[in-house]
Symmetry: D2
Subunit: 334 residues, 4 copies
């Protein structure tokens, strides 16, 4: 049994993570924590997330002293704001914990990136360099050795899973940048109150045109430029990405299918569609990323769907945990 601490359990991804770990046979949830200033400190997790009543009734403890909190803890999950993860991850790491960080604080190499897209100066170049990007289907060897796993963002997970096999097999004509149109459920914006995410204001809308921080995360890890256009959708959870690419002359639908099958046939959390493309409902509440595609001439449309809180956050974190510690990859996920 591994003792685990979940910081930021009060949020949507944190609650999902807690539910997964609560039923994981090798994990012992030692404590749930929130930031010391949080108005939620002292409440039960199930007061905020009543679906967990009777399942996980642990209190949310204020995280006052990281060194203290790290005592006896084997594994830490950080479902915290980027700046918070940036500040506290190194302390947990120094205490010997294995850290799974669901924030963006350690996902991309280079301090410029953090200055430009996250608005802060990254202070932990050493840990940033050591962090392993937890795109589970592609990084399992590195994850097994890592002490700090930076779990990918919700949008980048689906985008990379759809594009990486095509890039690796050199099927794309990159003169034309892939166009990633993505629609996310509102839970992607987190649990705090805001007019933007209030019930009566939400309506399908693009945002962050040409400047969403997930665009450089996708580009950095794929090694190609992309056009990434996120949209807020009028549903609570799930992400659907419609990705339009130019194929190299002569590349066929069969080539595309072969690339996907080679990449994912032995990966339990990616489901390939031999015909048709996924709908959002296929993945909501489930840990999968579903991928389908269509080809016409030199044009390819790939469609990837996932639950933003699961394969886009909590489930992928647990998948990385399972890989890191040698548990079955889908343990407690399916």
């Amino acid at each position: 049994m591994l003792n685990t601490l979940i910081v930021g359990a009060s949020g949507y991804a944190g609650a999902e993570l807690t539910a997964y770990l609560n039923r994981h046979p090798h994990m012992n949830i030692t404590a749930l924590a929130v930031s010391a200033q949080s108005a939620d400190a002292g409440k039960l997790l199930s007061e905020l997330h009543p679906q967990l009543k009777g399942i996980v009734d642990l209190p949310l403890q204020p995280l006052v002293n990281v060194a203290e909190a790290a005592k006896g803890i084997d594994v830490v999950f950080l479902a915290t704001a980027h700046e918070v993860s940036h500040d506290i991850a190194p302390e947990f790491l120094a205490a010997g914990c294995v850290v799974f960080d669901l924030s963006g604080a350690f996902r991309v190499q280079g301090s410029d990136f953090y200055r430009q897209y996250y608005g802060f100066e990254h202070q932990h170049a050493d840990w940033l360099a050591k962090a392993v990007y937890g795109l589970a289907e592609w990084q399992s060897e590195k994850i097994k050795e890592a002490q700090l796993i930076a779990v990918p963002g919700c949008y980048p997970t689906a985008a990379q899973l759809a594009l990486k096999p095509l890039i690796d097999k050199q099927l794309l004509n990159l003169d034309q940048w892939p166009v990633i149109n993505a629609v996310s459920g509102v839970s992607g914006a987190g649990r705090k109150a805001s007019v933007t995410t209030s019930f009566c204001e939400v309506s399908l809308q693009p945002y962050g045109l040409f400047n969403h921080r997930h665009q450089p995360e996708i580009s950095a890890h794929l090694g190609i430029p992309v056009i990434f256009t996120p949209h807020l959708g009028s549903f609570p959870r799930g992400i659907l990405e419609t990705i339009t690419c130019r194929l190299k002359t002569g590349v066929t639908a069969q080539d595309v299918a072969a690339a996907y099958h080679e990449a994912y046939d032995d990966k339990p959390l990616v489901r390939l569609y031999d015909k048709g493309v996924p709908a959002l409902k296929s993945v909501v509440g489930l840990p999968f990323c579903d991928i389908g595609f269509a080809v016409q001439g030199e044009h390819l449309i790939a469609v990837a769907a996932e639950d933003n809180l699961l394969k886009g956050a909590a489930a992928q974190a647990v998948q990385c945990l399972n890989i890191r510690f040698g548990f079955p990859e889908t343990q407690s996920l399916i």
Copy 2:
């Protein structure tokens, strides 16, 4: 042409009111105002409510000095918080304006009511005594003479329209209190950010059991006790009320129908169903209150539906305006 000022135009009811008055042939919108502290002061109404872009692009002016703002104004609409209406209505009234107040500040006689349900001491007993309750179908004679019209709350409008004909005709056995189960869209909670009304948190739920302030408003104006159970529904607008009553022995469905028809056959904004009961969609975006019912033995279920922002707020305010100034009752509403 009457010059009009709309205070609180930034909210959902305020925006609907502005749209109605903007197309009213006898009204000239002199200004839109918000409280001086509002973060929305200085913005265009259409920035907050983009559906009004190109239709009403007036700015939201901070209301700094009521006496100043009242100059040259014939009619004021207050779509403001109860406390704000309570404070500023008397100043507009003193300046000679006719005031239509959409808040609860002048709806119920008796300072106890405000102490208990609104948490403030009412300072304007004189105006409270003079205020006419703007339940338009039942108060038109008084409205014609009034300087201060207290437009009824959203829940009370539907409840009273459904119950008042039955009470007046003495059809109910009041040993058994009418049970009013009401479900309201989220816009009823207003436009400010709150976790409770955030997209991912909203879900059908009763609230305010036995202590919602609309229960005594309903009871006071109907003159009978009722059990009123409001629910938050997962839709932006509309109210549906399912009202279960005991009929006096011998009262028939025909008696009930006759009471409704007598009350409303000449009322253009109440639509009676000869068979079946209304669905929410029948009234969303429209100024009507729809009423249907079913009887079995001594039991009656009446169903009333309205748009909480329209017949439950803005449309009824305009209906009162039309009555007050002798315009056709549905002017600019249909």
Copy 3:
């Protein structure tokens, strides 16, 4: 391992049931069946319910010959239309199978009931007499001995769980019939195409006033008259019931709480709220029925919420299975 056949697996409750049984350690799904005429015969379950892709990819086999289909089967689940269950359950029973019927065909004693509310003549008075009503929290002793378990309807489950403790403790003044206002998600209407349940038509609406067949099911099993008013809600799943009752003089909130705690403190699938009342989201996707209440004077409002497809159908069926065969009551449900 028990061999099991699921008939009607193509529907919403059938698919949930299949997912539960698929992960049940003591159950072996031998086959999934649909009626021989069904257009879905021959398809994979996961074509109709893509969320099950990679989890349950079994085909839907046409049920041509019941005797043949029953061979080697220990347990049969019928998630079929009432008439179909009525016709085929006796054949499976004759073959020695234990049958869990999710339809209404064996829920209420008396052929009059079926003539009046279901529109058919019940042909199997013997099996009807032997059928055990599977309201799991209240019938566990009988369930252990039963060969035919009639799993209760979705509305009746929540209504009875909320009312039965109060009736048993004689807390209610039954001169006033309990008023049950219930709102159900659209999945309650099943999966077949209809204008009524099409996306653009659904809107909060009462239906079946005074004549829904679940009213007599509730009354028959509680032994009291009730007023039951179902509503269609604009959400896919879940039921919320707001139940208004008259208490006997002198009965207190403490008495009500005590009755609930005595009934359910050792029942893992009923969650009691010590303060507040449940929201729909607390139970969607979960096997629980959540119950809360408020009292004022002699008036009680009890609120019960459940997922109509789970505690209102599939989860309760599995709960009955677990009780029947001595497995832990929540096996594969939590």
Copy 4:
């Protein structure tokens, strides 16, 4: 006053059209019609669309004999299936009526198009050749002279309004095909029952990849190839299109803005965003097409939003009517 007949008034677009024409000061609705076989024949329009109760309570008459129906009619609106419009429009035209056809039957020149995308042989090459494509902002001179106006499809209206100014000003590098990602509300699929559009089945999903019939309609009228990917969205009405294009080297955001302003500054039903892009809610229930855009380097993202039933159907039909007969362009629309 022009006498008008509306065929297909029972559908979603037909009902909206009827509401517009009902309040049009120059139009007299002589009759509403549905096909002779329709199960809705004989019902009141307001039985199907209860929001119209008390507003338009006309009956839906079966269309038995076109020549008979055309007598005394000046203007006919066809909100009918493509094949029906194809069959009956010529008869109304022969009788001298001006016909506004909301179907696809006369939108694109060339019989091949109908064979390939609509599955029928077009029998009326003469009328097809004379038909004017009613993209109102661009065809007003031709509309004024036309007897048959083919009102554009919902997706093509928004796509063309967003792209046409850019193409006309030669701002686009067409080596890269514009990528049109469009999400439509479910009402776009019409009012008939289908599992696909049932409440529990709808979920964000692409469909018709590379083969939706609106792609060639868009391409034919713009004169360029495009990639058009429609999606079904989980909302009743509205269309949002996110269009990604390559600009020619040197083209700036100012050039794009200038092209839009030149095209639409005097067009009352296109609203341009000087900053930001539209959300769906900005246009639902309104006759506008809203357009905004962002540029980065040589990449342009244009976003267009409209109500699929209004600017994408009924409102554009009325706009064409107003242009055709010299009424103010927005008469009865705003």
